[in-house]
Amino acid sequence: MASEITAPLPGKIVRMDIEVGSSVEEDMEILAIEAMKMENIIYAPCDGTIEKLLKKVGDEVEEGDVIATVA
């Protein structure tokens, strides 16, 4: 079952510590979104492997946008 990693707030992706195939653990730091000149760390929602990556560093995201899927 795949679970989605969504942007919790609008902003720009400034760091991405994962790629397709990376294995992640719940609560691991996986990327950072800059909003209002403040860097916000996003954490993995569950254990698994990154299946799809839909955004890259430099992309602007809206709240709720899917950034990656974990399976």
């Binding site: 919790p8 707030l9 609008p10 909003a35 209002m36 403040m38 916000n40 760390i41 954490y43 709240e63």
Partner: protein, 373 residues
């Protein structure tokens, strides 16, 4: 020969130095130090600090009425009420009122945080400041530099330097002053509370907001017109999407230019003879009280709203009701993530934060109306 030497010496500034001036140099240098080393509001504290140094060099004449360079900046820029409204044009151009429109009841938090302004007004008046001065001091609690300067220029120009420096210093210290109050007034589970996803705000709503706000606020409180009109014009530039150049100029070039002409003459109002009086220095204590009270009343109001409303809000959002944008919202976010690292309050906190800007302008307009400035 001896007489000539003495009269030559008298043309230099040295013999006209007073101990007070040297104290002011130290204050000016401390502000410059804080601006450079600690990056406390450097855009303002740096020119303010330099302005303090300049005006406390004897015989420079920079603040002499009608002729001094800084006096002209002060008179035509601030006394004529040109610069603070132009700063508001820039603020409007970079402020997204979307988070407020998504959750309109957060506007109460922006209003609640103004309680500190009014309480400090009464306290200052009870302590012996005249009513005009008390209103200006209370305004520091709104944590809004241009509004504080605007009201000082109308009601109490003699206190402008101290009030402006107090307002900007405390704004820079938002991340130090606010968190202890926030932790004191909330429990960990309250701070960890996640907010419900906001509703999307349409482009049409964002376009109508500045126009309708202009009508409603100016019809209600005409004295707020100079600030509100510019704030909403800037916002209309932003949301219209057709005048990117004007929006850019308002929030970048024009903002930067007027900031230079704002800081320097504010510093220049702080001559030793005016500034070094207990009455003026006490403003820094009252301003801090105003700031703390505004933070506290915002949080308490948020908790009160939770008592009566079904839809709960994180009480930390109340602290963002002071109008230090976006510092107060960032602080709310940080304190929220301390309690739960996956709690992203930033954009929710922007709602009361931008409401706080409007709230402070309205509070200023009411003072000016009631006190007839």
């Amino acid at each position: 020969m001896g007489n000539k030497l003495i009269s030559l010496l008298n043309t230099t500034g040295f013999v006209h130095l007073t101990p007070g001036m040297i104290v002011m140099w130290i204050i000016g240098l401390v502000l410059i130090y804080l601006a450079i080393k600690k990056q406390y509001e450097p855009l303002l504290l740096l020119p303010i600090g330099f302005g303090i140094l300049l005006v406390n060099l004897p015989l420079s004449g920079l603040m002499d009425e009608n002729v001094g360079l800084l006096w002209k900046f002060y008179h035509y820029g601030i006394h004529w009420e040109i610069i603070p409204p132009l700063i508001f044009l820039g603020i409007g151009a970079f402020t997204d009122f979307g988070p407020l429109m998504a959750n309109p009841r957060l506007i109460f938090l922006g209003a609640g945080a103004q309680a500190g302004v009014y309480i400090t007004f009464f306290v200052s008046h009870a302590m012996g400041y005249d009513i005009m001065e008390a209103a200006t001091i209370g305004m520091i609690g709104g944590a809004d530099g241009p509004t504080t300067i605007f009201i000082a220029s109308k009601l109490a120009p003699q206190l402008m330097g101290a009030c402006a420096v107090a307002a900007y210093s405390y704004m820079a210290m938002v991340p130090i002053i606010q968190p202890p109050i926030m932790r004191l007034l909330t429990t960990k589970s309250e701070r960890a509370m996640h907010m419900a996803k906001p509703r999307p705000v349409s482009k049409r709503e964002k376009l109508l907001f500045p126009i309708i706000s202009t009508f409603v606020i100016i019809l209600l409180i005409p004295a707020s017109a100079p600030l509100i009109s510019m704030l909403m014009l800037g916002n209309l530039f932003r949301e219209s999407g057709v005048v990117e150049r004007l929006k850019g100029a308002a929030q970048n070039e024009l903002m930067n230019i007027v900031t230079i002409f704002l800081g320097l003459p504010i510093g220049a109002t702080m001559h030793a003879d005016i500034f070094l009086q207990p009455k003026v220095l006490f403003i820094f204590i009252l301003g801090l009280i105003a700031f703390i009270l505004s933070t506290a009343t915002g949080i308490l109001l948020a908790k009160l709203m939770n008592l009566v409303s079904k839809e709960k809000i994180n009480p930390l959002l109340g602290a963002a009701g002071v109008s230090a944008v976006p510092m107060a919202a960032r602080v709310v976010h940080k304190v929220g993530t301390e309690a739960d690292k996956k709690n992203y309050l930033l954009m929710y906190a922007m709602g009361p934060n931008v409401a706080g800007v409007i709230g402070t302008v309205i509070a200023a307009g009411m003072f000016i109306t009631l006190l007839g400035g």
